[in-house]
């Protein structure tokens, strides 16, 4: 271990980063662009589905139910229709993406204690977009039921044998709570890992291509000093990206940050190092930038598909879940969602912390092992 050598290496990497302001700007702008694109795409698709209402009951109760649906921001009532067929037609024609059908005896059934069936038709041609609407409709049904049950119990009436409102969503899709608030914390992990993996994957191979590697490996620098020097500046870049995404996510998408920030920043260090280590490792696998990019994409796609960023891992086949386990992002997603959304502290998340620490160590060791100080 020679501190002077390591410092020289780190300093050089910082100067080179500063000399390339275009790349630096890109590294900071890309996360914001990705966040806005993903965040808004998710938001606008899921929210305010154009909705038609076929209200046969025309009572205060039925209007209250529709109002509750609108209040979730998932439905925006475009117009009233006068028949079931017209409602279906509107969805078929794409004028509306949801239709609410209130039965004629809705209010009467509620008062009598009979089940009042409500139909919510959701155009599920884009399942991810409709999932949230479906869930919201069901949530509204549940909430209405709870209010009604509570009101009846406190009035001293008999407990209900049937649920008052029965919301039937058609066609039924596996309802999952996916919304912007759920997506943005995931985006932190996705953006961090993808940009950091690509940046570092390119660094070693770029030195090889420009011919500076030959001059570098003839010096007494130890392999791990070269590796550590290469990633040090990007730890800083990772933190800047993390902060940017958090701030923009909080201001633009109103993502709450419920858990302790120091926990999030501490845990993120492990993830950043793991991602950089993976990038370095990839860098040692290819001879030129084109090859390295190909290999990097081999990791980036599973990162998006199998980590639980887009789709719940619970629904995946065992093999896909297993592959997901060897991605640092899978573990970091649980961490970041736990801290940001559930308000977890690190005590609840130590298995993920342990996994990330292991990844950081293993990838760095692999990269150092693979990196050769010879030209063969």
């Amino acid at each position: 271990m020679n501190a002077e050598r390591l410092v020289a290496m780190v300093k050089k990497e910082f100067v080179q980063m500063r000399r390339d302001p275009a790349t630096l700007r890109l590294m900071l702008a890309v996360p914001v662009i990705q966040l806005l694109v993903f965040g808004f795409a998710v938001r606008t698709d899921v929210r305010n589905l154009p909705t038609v209402v076929f209200d046969q009951s025309r009572t205060q109760e039925s209007r209250a139910f529709v109002q509750a649906l609108v209040a979730t921001d998932n439905f925006a009532v475009k117009r009233e229709v006068r028949s079931y067929a017209e409602a279906i037609e509107a969805v078929d024609a794409g004028q509306a993406r949801a239709a609410v059908v209130m039965p004629p005896d809705y209010a009467r059934n509620l008062k009598r204690g009979d089940t009042a069936p409500v139909q919510v038709l959701v155009d599920a041609s884009d399942p991810t977009a409709s999932q949230s609407a479906i869930a919201a409709a069901q949530l509204v049904g549940q909430r209405t039921n709870m209010t009604l049950v509570a009101a009846r119990t406190s009035a001293g009436g008999n407990p209900l044998t049937n649920l008052p409102v029965d919301v039937r969503v058609r066609p039924l899709y596996n309802p999952a709570l996916a919304n912007a608030i759920f997506i943005v914390p995931g985006l932190i992990g996705m953006i961090l890992s993808n940009t950091l993996i690509i940046i570092t994957a390119l660094t070693v191979v770029r030195e090889r291509e420009t011919g500076t590697l030959e001059q570098l490996i003839v010096t007494p620098l130890a392999k791990w000093e070269i590796m550590l020097g290469k990633i040090a500046p990007y730890v800083l870049v990772g933190y800047v990206q993390l902060t940017t995404v958090l701030v923009v996510g909080h201001w633009v998408f109103h993502v709450p940050i419920r858990g302790p920030l120091p926990a999030l920043y501490g845990a993120s260090l492990l993830f950043i190092i793991a991602s950089l280590g993976l990038g370095l490792f990839i860098s040692t696998l290819g001879r030129n930038q084109a090859q390295v990019m190909q290999i990097a994409f081999l990791f980036l796609l599973p990162n998006i598909l199998l980590s639980g960023f887009m789709w719940p891992r619970e629904a995946m086949p065992a093999a896909a879940r297993w592959v997901g386990m060897i991605l640092p992002l899978t573990h970091y997603l649980r961490l970041v969602r736990g801290i940001v959304l559930k308000g977890n502290g690190l005590t609840e998340l130590w298995p993920q912390l342990l996994a990330l620490a292991a990844f950081a160590l293993v990838f760095f060791a692999f990269a150092t092992r693979r990196f050769s100080k010879t030209l063969e």
Partner: protein
């Protein structure tokens, strides 16, 4: 020639390098003395660069051995690296760093510590880098780049320096200045080992080794080498003969 010191600083013993079934260096043995300007000459593909890279610990020999500055290139390549200077064929410094930053980087990498300031001013003066300190390395002329590369390779005052085709693609005036600098360093006692395929540079070496298809075909001072091939031959004739035999 420049020094009485006949101490051997580089010794090759039956050095062999094969890449797959291509033999790049086929059992070469010779020694180089301290303070010599030693030339490794030969046409393209004769094994010059492979030999020099083995001597720098950048590739390991298939068989045979070599001692460089007291360290074995096959067994302790990292020790070799800390004792030598190496200037690669292509410009190997960071083009996005200034002259001073490149020198500082190599000074740090070789752990110069408190000696750095003294070495920096020595390097800039010895390599005629003058006022170029703040200039980006990428915008230097070919000759300036070569001198900066040599400066970086010599920041840690190595006793042996390897230069792989240092004057390729450099204009004649810059080449002449570069040779002046090489002679000055040798006069200070540093062993300068240079590969070249410019035959007009052959006369500048104290001694030289002629490689052809990985074999050592001649060894000695320019006069001795001429003698081995017959007095009527100039070194250039010998070189062309070898090249024609190769192709």
């Amino acid at each position: 020639m420049n020094t009485e010191d006949r101490r051997v600083v580089v010794e090759l013993r039956d050095l062999v390098k094969r890449f797959g079934n291509v033999t790049a260096v086929a059992g070469v043995s010779f020694t180089i003395n301290a303070g010599e300007i030693f030339g490794i000459l030969g046409p393209n593909g004769s094994g010059k660069t492979t030999t020099i890279r083995m001597l720098c610990g950048l590739i390991s020999p298939t068989s045979g051995s070599a001692l460089v500055a007291g360290a074995d290139v096959a067994r302790e390549p990292e020790r070799v690296k800390s004792r030598i200077g190496y200037m690669s064929q292509a410009f190997g410094l960071y083009r996005d760093l200034t002259v001073d930053e490149n020198l500082a980087f190599y000074g740090g990498v070789y752990g110069l510590g408190a000696e750095f300031a003294a070495r920096l001013s020595w390097a800039k003066q010895a390599m005629r880098l003058g006022e170029l300190g703040g200039r980006l390395s990428g915008v230097l002329s070919g000759g300036q780049k070569q001198r900066l590369a040599l400066a970086c390779a010599m920041m840690h005052a190595p006793e042996v320096v390897f230069l792989d085709e240092p004057t390729a693609g450099v204009d004649p005036a810059a080449r002449r200045l570069f040779w002046t600098i090489i002679r000055e360093r040798a006069a200070e006692g540093v062993t300068m080992i240079v590969t070249t395929h410019y035959m007009d540079e052959a006369e500048r070496f104290d001694r030289l080794a002629f490689l052809s298809r990985g074999h050592l075909v001649a060894l000695g001072s320019p006069a001795e080498v001429k003698h081995q091939f017959g007095e009527s031959h100039s070194l250039e004739d010998i070189f062309v003969d070898l090249q024609e035999k190769d192709s």
